[in-house]
Symmetry: C2
Subunit: 491 residues, 2 copies
């Protein structure tokens, strides 16, 4: 209240940074690139984690835990993997400190130098496949369907909370299969699991596709992805699922005995989503007033604010409010009753608006007399006076409406921001004036892809899975092309 916040139109990037701060989601720590995820931000991540974890288990996966550290030499074992990952890493070189001789604190003990340096995992394919080598002998040991929830570190010079941080939280699935077909099906299935989660829970429509060769994960034969569109017209990769072929099996010599006794290399996948999803969630739905959270992952779905003057009114309003809380909680909703006497209702309204609570109820003495209550929905800012009888059903339906409405709004925005273009002038013009996804023919070469990126900063986000072949000419080179792909500037 009082402070004027930056709006999306004024400066989208600043709006985002301010919003993460004032809605109490996260903050930068003093350690370069590492964030502190504050309780409210973590509560959202926990919800997302719980839902995803259940989906992984429902599709037959189990959790496990592998070491934080990876011996430096492991990274070199898979040739393209090392090129993609080995560079910007946190490197552990020593295992002991000692008191400084001048009493000024502690210093690294030079006698405690590791023989081989350890890398803080940027991703765990190498350390995990080193274990799988021991676990897999026969076709009976397959498939292995393991997921891990973990922290990973990729050194970054320019960081933004949730979107790009040196340390982030994620899950990484690592599976091993007897056949190529089964591994491909797994990679596709997990990409679908991600799409389903992001659409149904985060209320954010995604495009399912595959990456071009140059955008693939380092060590993958195919990278499936889901791409979402933010309100500033930039795309965000919300999840990836990789078919790794036999690359890691060969790098770590992991073979299995087939039914008829032959030795074959194992087929692999890996797939992951991270706290980056928090960034997508914030940027896709929020408005100039604050967060807008989809009910299915909102830590608080309904906030109740009592309005009263004096103790007598409070007693009446408080009793009714508690009854409502009990009923809504019993119906399975996540409810917060804010009876803090130190804050005025107006302050509370602004607070829950900032925090994106989907539904806010306000109940006063006058409402009570009329057996009514004020119901405000966060997404559209509509307010209604609603009868207290049947309130539970009303709120439950309203939450469903909000979830649906948020998805549809985001979907409409996305559909309005997919533009077909047929020449490079148009490409540049749409990219600058309108943004969003540009659907264009591409000649299939990495050179053209690089050139377009160099000239426009747009990359090929994906080749959509549902895109049908069509004859055309490349938007940049004019060479023949058989399919349109989606370009965009991206986070």
């Amino acid at each position: 209240m009082g402070n004027k916040h930056t709006t999306r139109n004024e400066d989208y990037s600043k709006w985002y940074n301010e919003l993460v701060d004032r809605s109490d989601l996260a903050e930068h720590s003093d350690v370069r690139g590492c964030m502190v995820i504050k309780p409210y931000g973590f509560a959202i991540w926990e919800k997302m984690k719980d839902i995803l974890d259940k989906k992984f288990k429902d599709t037959g996966h189990v959790n496990a835990y592998f070491p934080l550290f990876i011996p430096k030499s492991y990274l070199s074992k898979e040739a393209s993997h090392v090129d993609g990952f080995a560079k910007e890493c946190a490197v552990v070189t020593h295992y002991r400190l000692k008191n400084a001789e001048d009493g000024s604190g502690v210093v690294v003990d030079p006698d405690a130098k590791l023989e081989e340096e350890l890398i803080v995992r940027p991703t765990s394919e190498t350390i995990i496949w080193n274990s799988y080598k021991k676990w897999i002998q026969s076709h009976r040991d397959l498939p292995i369907l393991i997921n891990q929830w973990a922290n990973v570190v990729r050194w970054e010079m320019r960081t933004r909370l949730f979107l790009r941080t040196a340390e982030f939280l994620w899950q990484e699935g690592h599976t091993a299969h007897a056949t190529k077909q089964e591994a491909i099906e797994e990679a596709e299935k997990m990409n679908d699991v991600y799409a389903d989660f992001v659409e149904k829970y985060m209320a954010l429509p995604v495009i399912r596709g595959v990456k071009t060769e140059s955008e693939r994960f380092a060590g993958a034969d195919e990278t499936y992805c889901i791409e979402a569109l933010m309100q500033d017209g930039k795309a965000l990769q919300a999840g990836t699922s990789h078919f790794l072929g036999q690359n890691f099996a060969k790098a770590f010599d992991v073979k299995y005995a087939t039914n008829d006794g032959k030795q074959e290399f194992v087929w692999a996948t890996s797939w992951g989503v991270s706290t980056r999803l928090m960034g997508a969630l914030i940027m896709a739905h929020s408005d100039d007033e604050g967060l807008v959270l989809p009910p299915r992952i909102a830590p608080i779905q309904v906030a109740i604010v009592p309005i009263y003057k004096g103790e007598e009114e409070f007693a009446l309003v408080d009793a009714k409010a508690r009854e409502i809380v009990a009923n809504l909680s019993e119906a399975g909703l996540r409810v917060k009753y804010d009876d803090d006497d130190n804050r005025r209702p107006g302050w509370k309204f602004a607070e829950y608006e900032t925090k994106g609570v989907p539904v806010r109820l306000a109940i006063g003495a006058r409402d009570l007399k009329e057996d009514m209550i004020e119901v405000a929905r966060r997404d559209t800012k509509e307010k209604n006076s609603v009868s207290l009888s049947g309130l539970e059903d009303y709120v439950i339906e309203l939450l469903k409406d909000i979830q649906k409405g948020m998805f549809e709004k985001a979907l409409n925005f996305r559909e309005e921001h997919i533009t077909d273009v047929s020449n490079f002038e148009e490409f540049k013009e749409v990219l600058e004036s309108k943004g969003g996804f540009i659907r264009a023919h591409w000649d299939g070469s990495a050179e053209t892809e690089d050139k377009i990126k160099e000239l426009t900063k747009a990359t090929i986000r994906c080749i959509p899975l549902d895109e049908k072949p069509s004859e055309g000419v490349c938007v940049y080179t004019g060479k023949p092309s058989t399919q349109r792909v989606l370009f965009a500037k991206a986070y």
Copy 2:
């Protein structure tokens, strides 16, 4: 089956190592001191984690996440903390690798040296209090009741799976309070939460106490703990909760404005349990055949094995087994139906015995005719033929019995292994011949404590909270003592 396993009597330590391996809980990785927690082990840890997390939330705590890395200088800020923790740590000195010029792989890039080294957190007091400094201005900002689930690293030269590893998983609660009294109550409350969890879920009785000054956490004014007894007569510290006084508030200059506008330092607690609890669970209950898991945290509570010859019998038995699975699952039990045709029933029986599944059902064609089923309980190895009607109720009651029986067995063992001694000869004799806790008078000095440790390897596990003052003389020095304390050799 076939392989003879080491028994507890033959070699307790070897028995433990073999058991962790053959019950598929965990294994050493190639990274010194770091373990791989395998899916079955992780499933147990997940159960424990879920229950504890709920208990923390029910007592008003929220989760958050703080950085993995701690600037080296932070560790020096709290004087006794640095002595206790700063030494055996993983130290990050560089943030980039580069390709070796001779093409042999990757090397650390000497140009990417950090200005200040980062320590992989051995515990997070310092980094968290550096944040709390920003979060706390007024009494209105208190209390802060935050928990974090995280991995931590304390370099260890001699490691044992779960019991002592360089990297381990844990939770660490860090709370900030306006008053000393409130902080002490919090530390005591969380010690009670741990005790309740370990006793009611892990079926393991604990003694609640406080540590002597020399055994306290580095930076604490008081360390509360719960101590459990393993089958070999050694004690294991299962959890600790620290009243930190104003030590960290002073080190990080964290003050709050009181109601009447004065500036006061904040009071603190921290408390944690780790994957070490897995070690306690295994060592407290398991037998020479394998794990024995308490039903409340067993990932599989009931395993069902069909016994049949030929397809016709299988069809009958399978149909009934599936009906039982459905009923037991509906009753909320975690059930595994093992219809793997590649394994013989005997192999399966041994497998579930090794894995400590509390109840195993075996159903054959003959049983079916008689409307009976064989029920085997893991803890006592009793088998009974039970009527199929009413099986659900029978199994539910049986699981409760097992939970209760396991606790009572462990409690009896513990009670039999608390021995009062009155002189040092007796002390040594009991320690060597019988083990367990030795209840003895101690003169209260750190010198005596050290001397006893040096001579016998026994440490003061705790001063029990329920121990009444009693006049006596120190078991070692003969000096006056006002209370008995508990000594033991410990993990």
